[in-house]
Every structure is written in structure tokens, then in C-alpha cells.
């Protein structure tokens, strides 16, 4: 496994597969060269890199939302009335 993914997994608590499935590894590897731990976590969790959200995907794949088990506002449509159901907790 490559070092950036390994470090990211360790910091975020999300597995290498979960991180890879976001499709953001290459973009984030390039951005995060020389970044602090806190910056790497912020990027993965919220899609924010030094005050900017670089792409729509960075927002939509934010791990904070996955930790809650919901899609970020404006990114996906779970369906009419879905909000009435018992929340599913984050898949671990």
C-alpha cells in the first residue's frame, strides 16, 4: 500500500478501500505534499484545502458525512420520505 494512503487511513479511521473508493487519492496526494496531519484530516473529512473546496467531488465525498452515515446537503437524493426512517449508523 502506498505511504499517503496508509497515513491517511491511520489519521482518518477510514480503510484504504474506503479512501480509494472516493476517487480522490491522486488529487489529495498531490495537494497534501508537505501538509500537516490536521490539514490532511480536514481535507479528507470536509473537502477543504487551505480555505478552498477544490472540486464538487471533494465536498460530496467528505468523510465527516460518511462518519454520520448521510450524504452532504445538495449532493444526493435519498428519496421522498427517507428522512422519516431510523438513521442507519455509519458502516464501520
Amino acid at each position: 500500500m502506498d505511504a499517503f494512503v496508509e497515513l491517511s487511513a491511520e489519521l482518518t479511521g477510514f480503510s484504504a478501500e474506503e479512501l480509494t473508493s472516493t476517487g480522490l487519492v491522486e488529487q489529495y496526494r498531490a495537494l497534501a505534499d508537505g501538509a500537516s496531519e490536521a490539514e490532511i484530516i480536514q481535507l479528507w473529512y470536509t473537502g477543504v484545502w487551505r480555505g478552498v473546496i477544490p472540486t464538487e467531488r471533494a465536498y460530496a465525498e467528505g468523510l465527516a458525512w460518511k462518519a454520520i452515515g448521510v450524504s452532504p446537503p445538495g449532493s444526493a437524493a435519498p428519496g421522498f420520505g427517507s428522512w422519516e426512517q431510523r438513521p442507519r449508523r455509519s458502516a464501520r
Partner: protein, 547 residues
């Protein structure tokens, strides 16, 4: 009849439709540009997802961020100058006002309407069908008179999981002597239609971003109404009306406007248009500005005065269990028990929204929670669990406090000019003790509700935060709800009001000013449904006068 409507926002689009359907030739002059196609994508990449962020802005027609605050408190309610107006970015919560809201002055607070709820009731029904409102009449009758046999065009939206969790605990309980009941909130959001109503757009699919964008077109916006305009309605965007002209008798003859092409500069050309009747529908603050710039309609000296909003109090807490916030609309129910009654004479009444988007508005969740846990040294699985546990249990209460009409709260013309050379609006705004007592009572009610729920209260207001103040030694804060009103107030006499019961300027027989600016009181209801009902009533009056 040749009508000019100034502003293609919420009220203007409705009036233009009715006039167009009834044989008027209508020209709608709209200051803003056409909406941008990339609003959803701009929303997603906006760092702070505030209401105006995703939308196209032009230098020539600035939105509310060009207001100049001069008073003791900041007026912080936004509005949008783009085709469709603020009605594009709104939330879509549409309660009616209650009968006692029309008689605020009877308890010594603010102003009375020229008539009561009964006069507006048929227009409420018309507006609910025109806009497309999801609600259940029997449920609404628990706190409001709704005509017998009436059906809203769509069934009430399903409640959120959070609503059920709150209702199962608080229904029937007492807080500050008020019996609580969680009641569904009428919504301008597509649900399941009743027979006879045809859905326009998709059913609400739970994108949870209704303010400011609904990717599904499930939320009503004025663009829906514009699509239904007859061929006799002409829209011209990028046209900023800067003067209404009247002859010596007071009759309005024409409007002047400035047309621009470029989004980024004040370059423009000048034009004018004659009209038999002019309807100002430029939003409460811009209507007042335009009347002041035109030096019209102000024999009462009330133009721009009586500026109101709903100062909102937010409180936020954690439920004992996961409730799944950020799924579906922002609020599908509320607690209506504090909206009326004898308390109203002592302190401002309020309506409580049960907020389903976690601490997003109040505290910037989940980014803020993540930052907090990271700063505390959490990493890996511990971080993931902490964020998941915290945010899954978040909810908020949003209190809308009534603000009474006060002539000292006002819009005037600043000496500063915008890029077209028009004065920027200057706002002098304050909160009375009546409002502050209401905010404090709201905080107490919040304490009581959180205690009933066994919720862990995380509300805090800090002196270095915007709109912080103290009242009776208690820290408080208010937020702007976006509900600007009162600035061309309606009344029964030309001596102390700007428009009559038809929203016609007392001083000018063919000049109308429509919108929340006409409302003598806002009660505790989000005002746009009432505004729409008034607009339909005015349009009907114009049609019958032309016959």
C-alpha cells in the same frame, strides 16, 4: 391596460401572472440577471454555504450586502437581486398568520391591519394552491381556523425521524405554563398531490439543501410562476428601475430604468416606459428605496419606516440517541404554543421550528466538530467515532420572535452610491425591550424543552460573536431570518400609512407597492405566504377596476 411591474421576484411574478391572464399588457422590469446554470455546483464548492453564495451577482444590481448599517444593531437579513429574487433562495416554510396577529396594536404593540384574518382567508387558500403547499388541514386546525372542507393541494410531508423523537416526549408536557404539541409545518415543497392538483417539478427527494438550492426543483420558486405567464407578459432582465414619475395630480405616468449588459461594471444605458398602472415588487427594502428616490408616496413620512424582521434565536443540543440529521427538509414541524395568548402583551411571541440540519446553521457542523476533535488530538477510529456520534445526535431549535412595527427602525438613502450611481440603502435597526424579552423567553422555553428531552445543551453565545448582546444579565444572540417587512406600511389612513388595504399608495391612484413591506405586523409566521395572499388580492382588485 398597460402595467409595469418592477421586480420579477416572489410577489411580482404572482401579480404579473394574474394581470397577464386577465388581458393586461404587462412589462416586468427586473434588476437582476438571469439565474446562473451552475448554482448547484457553486453551492457544493462554496466554503460557507450562505443563502446568496451560489447565485449570480452583478455590480449594477447589488444584493443585500450593499446595505449600510447605522443603527445600534445590525440588520442581517439577506435578499437577492437576480431574476426570481429572494424567492429563489428561500426555505419554503409557509405557515399562515393567526387571527390575533392581525391586531397587534390591541395589546399595545405595533400596528393593526385594516381588517382581520377572515378577509385574507380565501386568499390564503388561493395562494396555497397557486404556490403548491403541502399540509394537512385537520392538523393545522389544531392551532388555526382553516375553512371547512378545505384541502391543501398536497398532503403533509412525512415528518423527520427527529420530529417523531421530539413529539413522543414533549407532546402534552408543560413548559412555562404552555402545553406543547408538535405540529406539521406547511411547506412549499412537492409531496403527494390531492386530486385536482398537478405537481410542477419533482417530489422532494431529500437533498437537504433547500436553502439556497433545490437540485430537484421540488421547492417552489417564482420561476415556476413565470413559466405560466401568458404571452402578454414581457420580462426584461438587467433593468434597474431608478425612478417612478408622477404628474401634478399625483398620477404615475412612467418609470425610468437603467439597462446594463456587463455583470462586473456599472456601465449602462437609460430608458423609460409609460404605464397606466405601476406595481412596485422590488422587495421591502428596495421598494422603500425606490419610493424615496422618486420622492413619492411619502406624505405620511412612513416610507422606509417600521422595518421589521424576525430576529431569530438558535439553540442547539444533542439528543440522547442518533436522530439522523441532514436528511430531508430543514424543518417539517414546529411548536406553536408560544405564538399567542395573554403573554403577548408582556413579551414578543415566538414560533419554534424543530431544526433538522444539525448544528449546520448554528455552529457550522460537521466541519466545526471535526476541527474541534482534531484539535483535541483525536485521530483514526477515535476521530471517526467521535464525529459520527456527535453529529448523528445533533438538532437545533429555531425561534422566530415577532418584532413590532417601530418607526425608528428604518431605511433611508445613504450618501454612498452604488455602481449605477443610485444611493445605497442605509438601515437604522434596533431591538426593543419587548423583542429582547421575547428572545429571553424563547431561551427559557428552549431550556425547558431540552430538559424534557434529556438533551445535552451545547448552546453558547459569546461576546466576540456577531449580534451578541446581554439582556437582564443573560447572554443572547440573534440571527436574521430574511423576513424584511413594514417599509411601505398598510393602514386605514393616509396620515399614518403608505398604502391602503389594496396596497395602493394613498398619494397616487395608479401606484401600488406589493410585498412584505405592506404588512403592518408579521406575527410569528414566515411572511411570504401572507405576502402572496395579499398580492393575489391586489391583482384581483386591479383586474376588477379595469373592467
Amino acid at each position: 391596460m398597460r402595467a409595469v411591474v418592477v421586480g420579477a421576484g416572489f410577489a411580482g411574478s404572482l401579480v404579473a401572472k394574474v394581470l397577464g391572464d386577465n388581458g393586461f399588457r404587462v412589462l416586468v422590469l427586473e434588476a437582476g440577471a438571469e439565474p446562473n446554470e451552475d448554482a448547484v455546483s457553486r453551492f457544493r464548492t462554496a466554503l460557507v454555504k450562505s443563502p446568496l453564495k451560489p447565485y449570480r451577482r452583478t455590480a449594477a444590481a447589488p444584493s443585500s450586502d450593499y446595505l449600510i448599517n447605522t443603527g445600534p444593531y445590525a440588520y442581517s437579513s439577506p435578499y437577492l437581486r437576480m431574476n426570481g429574487g429572494t424567492g429563489t433562495a428561500w426555505t419554503g416554510i409557509t405557515p399562515r398568520m393567526r387571527p390575533d396577529d392581525f391586531h397587534a396594536a390591541d395589546v399595545g404593540r405595533g400596528r393593526n391591519w385594516p381588517w382581520g384574518y377572515d378577509v385574507l382567508e380565501p386568499y390564503y387558500r388561493a395562494a396555497e394552491w397557486e404556490i403548491g403547499i403541502a399540509a394537512d388541514a385537520d392538523e393545522q386546525r389544531q392551532h388555526l381556523p382553516v375553512a371547512d372542507g378545505y384541502r391543501y393541494p398536497m398532503h403533509a410531508l412525512p415528518r423527520t425521524y427527529l420530529d417523531h423523537a421530539v413529539a413522543s416526549v414533549v407532546d402534552g408536557a408543560l413548559v412555562d405554563g404552555h402545553e406543547l404539541l408538535v405540529v406539521g409545518t406547511p411547506q412549499a415543497r412537492n409531496g403527494i398531490p390531492v386530486p385536482g392538483y398537478r405537481l410542477d417539478g419533482q417530489r422532494c427527494a431529500g437533498f437537504a439543501s433547500c436553502v439556497p438550492i433545490c437540485p430537484e426543483n421540488a421547492k417552489y420558486t417564482p420561476h415556476r410562476t413565470q413559466k405560466q405567464w401568458s404571452a402578454t407578459v414581457e420580462l426584461r432582465t438587467r433593468c434597474v428601475v431608478n425612478r417612478v414619475h408622477a404628474d401634478e395630480s399625483g398620477r404615475v405616468t412612467k418609470v425610468s430604468y437603467q439597462r446594463y449588459e456587463d455583470d462586473t461594471s456599472g456601465r449602462h444605458t437609460r430608458h423609460s416606459e409609460e404605464a397606466d398602472v405601476v406595481v412596485l415588487a422590488a422587495h421591502a427594502i428596495e421598494n422603500a428605496k425606490l419610493l424615496l428616490m422618486s420622492r413619492l408616496a411619502n406624505s405620511s413620512d412612513q416610507v422606509g419606516r417600521n422595518l421589521m424582521d424576525h430576529p431569530a434565536l438558535l439553540t442547539w443540543a444533542l439528543m440522547p440517541q442518533a436522530v439522523g440529521p441532514f436528511r430531508g427538509p430543514g424543518s417539517t414541524t414546529g411548536i406553536e404554543a408560544f405564538r399567542g395568548g395573554p403573554d403577548r402583551a408582556r413579551r414578543a411571541p415566538f414560533r419554534i421550528e424543530i431544526g433538522n440540519w444539525g448544528w449546520g446553521w448554528a455552529a457550522g457542523s460537521p466541519d466545526s466538530d471535526t476541527a474541534e476533535f482534531v484539535a483535541a488530538g483525536l485521530r483514526g477510529q477515535a476521530l471517526r467515532e467521535a464525529v459520527g456520534d456527535r453529529v448523528s445526535r445533533q438538532f437545533a431549535l429555531q425561534f422566530e420572535i415577532e418584532q413590532e412595527a417601530d418607526p425608528e427602525n428604518r431605511v433611508t438613502l445613504a450618501a454612498d452610491l452604488d455602481p449605477l450611481g443610485n444611493p445605497r440603502p442605509s438601515i437604522h435597526y434596533g431591538l426593543s425591550d419587548y423583542v429582547k424579552d421575547g428572545l429571553l423567553a424563547a431561551k427559557r422555553a428552549s431550556d425547558g424543552i431540552f430538559e424534557l428531552l434529556g438533551a445535552d445543551d451545547h448552546t453558547s453565545y459569546k461576546p466576540d460573536e456577531e449580534r451578541y448582546f446581554e439582556h437582564d444579565g443573560e447572554p443572547l444572540r440573534y440571527w436574521g431570518a430574511g423576513h424584511s417587512g413594514g417599509t411601505h406600511v398598510m393602514g386605514t389612513s393616509p396620515r399614518d400609512s403608505v398604502v391602503d388595504q389594496w396596497q395602493r399608495c394613498w398619494d397616487h391612484p395608479n401606484l401600488y407597492a406589493v410585498g412584505c413591506g405592506s404588512m403592518p405586523s408579521l406575527g410569528t409566521s414566515n411572511p411570504s405566504l401572507t405576502m402572496a395572499a395579499l398580492a393575489l388580492r391586489t391583482a384581483e382588485h386591479l383586474v376588477s377596476r379595469a373592467r
